[in-house]
């Protein structure tokens, strides 16, 4: 396929148009569509604009059941074999994207040096990691994590979402990423609008790309960080199917959507997500993702017709084994293990928009 018609060629042209529109909109002080005042920025990000992306209750795209069933049938969980070890990283033209529910990540965990040492070593294995369950009223939890991460000369940064939850016990999502290898599209950060209040904690979204010598050819992608309410899993999973489809069309120049997080649902409980044409998920086939190794709650989900950049390598990082911890020590770190998947840094020219 020629560059003119390739996916990254289209992305480059529409990218320019997108930024032209953004420049016009933000120059006019628009409100509602963009909210440049949202205080979610990490120390190295100078300005973050929130793109308000809303989906409507029940059926945002006007899809009827016949439309859905007319799509490509779900091929089932990704058939690739889990890679043996995350430490056996591929060459530099690959990136590792991960999700990690760091159970009740707040002041008390920061005060546990042994648990923090594991968390830091775990995060350093990945290029960008979606975090769930930051639970604290203080705003310095992520800055302190980043300080520990960067104590060895690393250059990690973060973005964090607002406190979310229907009860007074709130949580925040965050993305932590290695700025040596990953760039944040700082104009494409936000929380999914949820006017029907279908989701306990509406997903936190951000767009990234690997830092490469040829940014126009780099693999760009949305990450959609999610943590469902364990008491409302079927309803929330179906709502996440809507979120996924909205994100697929949120920008004309971006078809790579990666939904990741703690779904509190195994591959058998993915509901309407399974009906999305071409949908794939990495964790399946009896692989467990929690520390007790009896639940498969965490996953990384994307569409393979679009996201051909997935190399087929993924795994659950069992830090209990990796760091030779007792079960109790591992649980002090988290009740979830991270899940990761590997992607090419270059946009696939054969991807279908």
């Amino acid at each position: 396929m020629s560059n003119r018609n390739s996916k990254y060629g289209r992305k480059r042209r529409s990218f320019k148009m997108f930024w032209l529109i953004i420049a016009v909109l933000t120059g006019g002080g628009v409100s509602g569509l963009l909210n440049p005042d949202w205080p979610i920025v990490g120390p190295l990000v100078t300005s973050v604009k929130t793109q308000a992306i809303e989906y409507k209750n029940q059926n945002p795209l006007g899809l009827g059941s016949s439309d859905v069933s007319g799509g490509q049938a779900n091929p089932g969980a990704y058939a690739g074999t889990p890679a043996q070890s995350v430490s056996a990283l591929g060459p530099n033209d690959k990136i590792l994207i991960a999700t990690f529910n760091i159970q009740v990540f707040g002041e008390s965990k920061l005060r546990k040096p042994d648990a923090m040492a594991v968390i830091v070593e775990v995060i350093r294995k990945f290029d960008v990691i979606a975090i769930q369950e930051v639970r604290a009223k203080a705003d310095d939890i992520l800055p302190r994590l980043i300080a520990e991460l960067n104590a060895d000369g690393s250059r990690y940064d973060f973005i964090i979402g607002p406190r979310l939850g229907r009860s007074v016990s709130k949580e925040q999502y965050a993305f932590v990423y290695d700025t040596n290898r990953i760039e944040l599209d700082s104009a494409s950060v936000g929380t999914i609008g949820d006017p029907g209040d279908l989701l306990h904690r509406a997903p936190f979204i951000a767009r990234f790309r690997p830092r490469t010598t040829d940014p126009d050819r780099a693999f760009t992608f949305w990450l959609v960080d999610t943590h469902t309410d364990p008491d409302d899993v079927p309803e929330e999973v179906d709502a996440l199917a809507q979120v996924f489809q909205v994100m697929q069309t949120a920008r004309p120049d971006e078809d790579d959507v990666i939904l990741l997080g703690d779904l509190n649902a195994s591959e058998k409980q993915l509901g309407d997500i399974k009906k999305i044409p071409g949908i794939r998920w990495v964790v399946g086939g009896g692989v467990m993702t929690n520390t007790r190794q009896n639940k498969a709650y965490d996953n990384i989900i994307f569409c393979t017709p679009a996201t051909q950049e997935f190399t087929g390598r993924w795994n659950v990082l069992n830090f209990e084994e990796e760091f030779n911890l007792s079960r109790e020590e591992a649980l002090r770190v988290s009740d979830h293990f991270p899940v990761w998947a590997e992607f090419d840094v270059w946009e696939s020219p054969d991807s279908v928009h």
Partner: protein, 159 residues
């Protein structure tokens, strides 16, 4: 005294750090802490660390014992919204086994000053089933609420 009993007692300690550690230990014990369900609900009216670990413990606790219903019912109307929220949630998880709690939950749907408690009570009635006339009336009013979630949960409970 086993660990579970000791941690439950420590949830009453005067030292907030001891209470937080107890809540964390109960959380890390997962579903083994099911007998501490009521203690953990009450611990949701505490300082932040205790509250966070208690709420995390309750998320993973599963279905509480049927004999906890009598202790959970008065907590639904607690002035602390997180206590009411979790009391209603645990009653809902009990499903038909908590059918005797219908009226208390119906009252929470219509009278709780906290939307989160109203919503969770409506959710719980959806799991338990609403057969009492007064409860059905509360749900019908809630189904017309301007809160989309409360309206949708009440409608679901009436179905």
């Amino acid at each position: 005294m086993d660990d579970q009993q000791r941690w439950r007692l420590e949830l009453q300690d005067s030292d907030a750090d001891v209470r937080a550690t107890a809540a964390e230990n109960l959380c890390l014990a997962g579903s083994d802490s099911v007998a501490a369900a009521v203690d953990l609900v009450m611990a949701c009216d505490d300082v932040e660390d205790v509250q966070n670990w208690a709420a995390a413990a309750l998320e993973d606790l599963g279905v509480p014992a049927v004999d906890s219903v009598n202790s959970l019912e008065p907590l639904v109307s607690s002035s602390a919204p997180l206590v009411g929220y979790w009391a209603a949630t645990l009653l809902g998880r009990l499903g038909a086994s908590a059918s005797c709690s219908q009226e208390i939950l119906g009252k929470a749907v219509s009278e709780s000053p906290h939307l989160s408690v109203q919503e969770r009570a409506a959710w719980a009635l959806g799991k338990i089933g609403a057969t009492e006339v007064s409860v059905v009336e509360s749900l019908k009013k809630a189904a017309a609420s301007s809160s989309p979630r409360l309206a949708s949960l009440a409608t679901r409970a009436l179905a």
